[in-house]
Symmetry: C3
Subunit: 312 residues, 3 copies
């Protein structure tokens, strides 16, 4: 694990090890004594945080993860404006300079797809892709899979209902691809025809003989769900007003939806949400989206720990 | 002290304890040996810094206070643009996610009044209100009271002259409310009729039988002052040009004002100033506004220390 | 070394000591064990980072340097918008407040020339000038000199070819002034007449009888170079379109340029570059601009170490 670039780079063994480590880091985070011990693990290491696009969730959880492991953090939340990129520097040059600064990892979110790969191609320092435009967001994919495993106890024989903006949603695309690795899963995609999952994903599902279905009937889909993975309409990625209207009229997880949902099912969401799951759902034990966010911290601690161990 | 939301939440005993602790932290800050010892106090703790509105003074002093106590700091100075708020997330959701990240305090400045209370209502992690729009700024109020106590030796039987933009000034409003707790104080409000202190404050003063007076005669007021608390016209809070003109022609503390001011009086200002106290005043021993700013560091160390001790 | 304000404040003995220390810090940075030891040097110290103008290179390298030395870092990358400067506060007031916060150094980049000097005039805390508009950038000048010494083994009897935007380039101006201290050097300035080095610099070269030449013939100049110092057209400093065109047609270091350049020469650039050195040059052993950037980290560690030692 020199770089973390794509959700698909992890084999199942690596994922299972990350899950075990994430469990451990959550456990160690419960007392101040063990927290202090964890903080001595990687003292002397430094992570650079380069965010060319807004993010608090990914950036904060990575920077907190680093801090908890004793890794020093230096960075910018506004690289687009403040970095040398504004003066026309290539991503390769930027990364080559940071390689000279004696840092151990560069965690970056970029506007354009492929930037993380370009960064990795010139870097001996670990590149962590914190989301590259419409491309990959591997740490999100890993924490989603981890939450399913943690909450349902398995990654196979699951009925997974995904809803929202499936066409543009990076998380549903990544999760779909990863879930094809495990046998007996079925995915039900709930959306309007305009916002349905891409043909490339459907081709991959077919190739791995993972069953799937496309529907606009949310309630019927929920009735048989083990995992509900709901997403927001990504208005910041150039949606038209009509898309929003369509999405917001339908496909809202509320008390009515809870009534049809099986008792042992879990509800996930990458957050932030803007109404597609109502606040009334939060108190239901099946609502796991805040836990899921917290899992992001521990899976990122596991990843940073693994990267830094390799550098020792 | 689970959260710090309002200046009025502190009883006198708590305030006196904070003052004693602030004295101690100032003392410990004088040598590198004791600084290093202080830094071991809260290793393993993390404070999130979420600033939705510009601030360097409050943010820096809190982040320095945390760092000096060994508390790790992660944050954003531009939450309005970079956080999930920009995508329409509620403050409650934001805070619930951060509760999952294993942090110990969330220090926030928000645009809108009441946001800190809303944050606290869903948070088991300590919320520290670093200013919520026109609402509260409790750590500023505490440091103001601390400075008066430190410099005059008492909080009662004081003649306090407050000047500037009293209508909109958060600091003069908070200080007025706190000072009613102590007997024998008198407040003289110096401003134009348009910028005078609000009726809600006057009602509170009446209720506690704290004497007060409103005047436009600055020099007469200063002649009998123990404490002068001067403030800036807050042009960033939508003032009209005429307000500025009125304020800037009158009510400037300069060498002439120093001549009438009693020898033992002190001059305070929450800073920044933009001319309402001239630079020539700085060298006068009665000018305590820079000391006052420094007191902000030590009172914030005292608060963070108290919060973190409770979590141990 | 109370403050670091100007490249010219360092005498040769101080520079040589900085170079020795920078060598040492590079060495200590190679193993995690010695890194951890270095991190205990200045625990308890705090550096403020105040950037009123975009920068990642200077800011990151200073913040990484501080972190590696155990110095806590608090700061802003957007002081122009978020600090009290936006409310009309003078730089003197800002610095006086930070002096009260128990910090040990204030590292600042400002828009206007002279701001670092004004800051230092009211500060007992070390002011480090990270670039003040068209004024000074002393840490860049020191790292440039360090790189020349490190790579060529000397600072005298050098044939230095400087190219690009010499009229506005802060780095070529500073380096020219510093190099006059050492005997036997010759500078060849390669640029269009509009972008040639200023008369003030030429007067200083004459005064110290440092030989120099102005030319538009890049290849002839390179043929005899020991050091090539190339720079970018600073479009962010109000260049007209015609300037850009002129600069970009000529004066590009590429494979053709490499052919005429002596084997033992070195190529430097303060970075970022935007085409004036082609990427194909990077693999050539004479290309030292990334190493030069890394030297910035170690020279800044040396400076911070020296400042903090004096405070102990």
């Amino acid at each position: 694990m020199q770089h973390i670039l794509s959700a698909e780079q992890f084999d199942d063994e690596q994922l299972q090890q990350l899950f075990v480590d994430a469990d451990m880091f959550r456990q160690l985070d419960q007392s101040i004594e063990s927290r202090r011990e964890v903080m001595t693990r990687h003292t002397g290491r430094i992570m650079l945080s380069m965010f060319y696009e807004p993010s608090t969730r990914t950036r904060f959880s990575f920077e907190i993860a680093a801090t908890k492991l004793g890794i020093g953090v230096v960075g910018t939340e506004n690289a687009a404006e403040f970095s040398s990129a504004a003066k026309g520097e290539t991503i390769e040059d930027t990364v080559k300079v940071f390689n000279e600064y004696g840092v151990d990892a560069i965690n970056m979110r970029t506007k354009e797809e492929g930037h993380a790969d370009r960064a990795a191609s010139v870097s001996t320092v670990a590149i962590i892709n914190g989301g590259d435009g419409k491309g990959e967001h591997p740490t999100q994919a890993a924490l989603d899979l981890y939450t399913i495993k943690e909450q349902t106890g398995r990654l196979e024989n699951l009925n997974i209902v995904m809803g929202g903006d499936l066409a543009r949603g990076r998380t549903v695309r990544s999760l779909s691809k990863l879930i094809t690795r495990y046998p007996g899963n079925k995915i039900t995609y709930v959306s309007t025809p305009e916002l349905q999952i891409g043909n490339d994903i459907k081709a991959q599902l077919d190739e791995h003989t993972t069953e799937y279905e496309e529907t606009t009937e949310m309630l019927s889909a929920l009735r048989e769900a083990d995992v509900v993975y709901w997403t927001r309409l990504q208005t910041e990625r150039a949606l038209t007003g009509s898309d929003v209207a369509v999405g917001q009229d339908h496909f809202i997880i509320d008390k009515t939806a809870l009534e049809v949902l099986p008792k042992q099912a879990i509800i996930m969401h990458p957050l932030p949400r803007v109404g597609e799951i109502t606040a009334a759902v939060d108190a239901d034990p099946r609502a796991q989206y805040f836990r899921q966010a917290g899992n992001g911290l521990y899976i990122r601690m596991a990843m940073l720990d693994s990267i830094m161990k390799q550098r020792d």
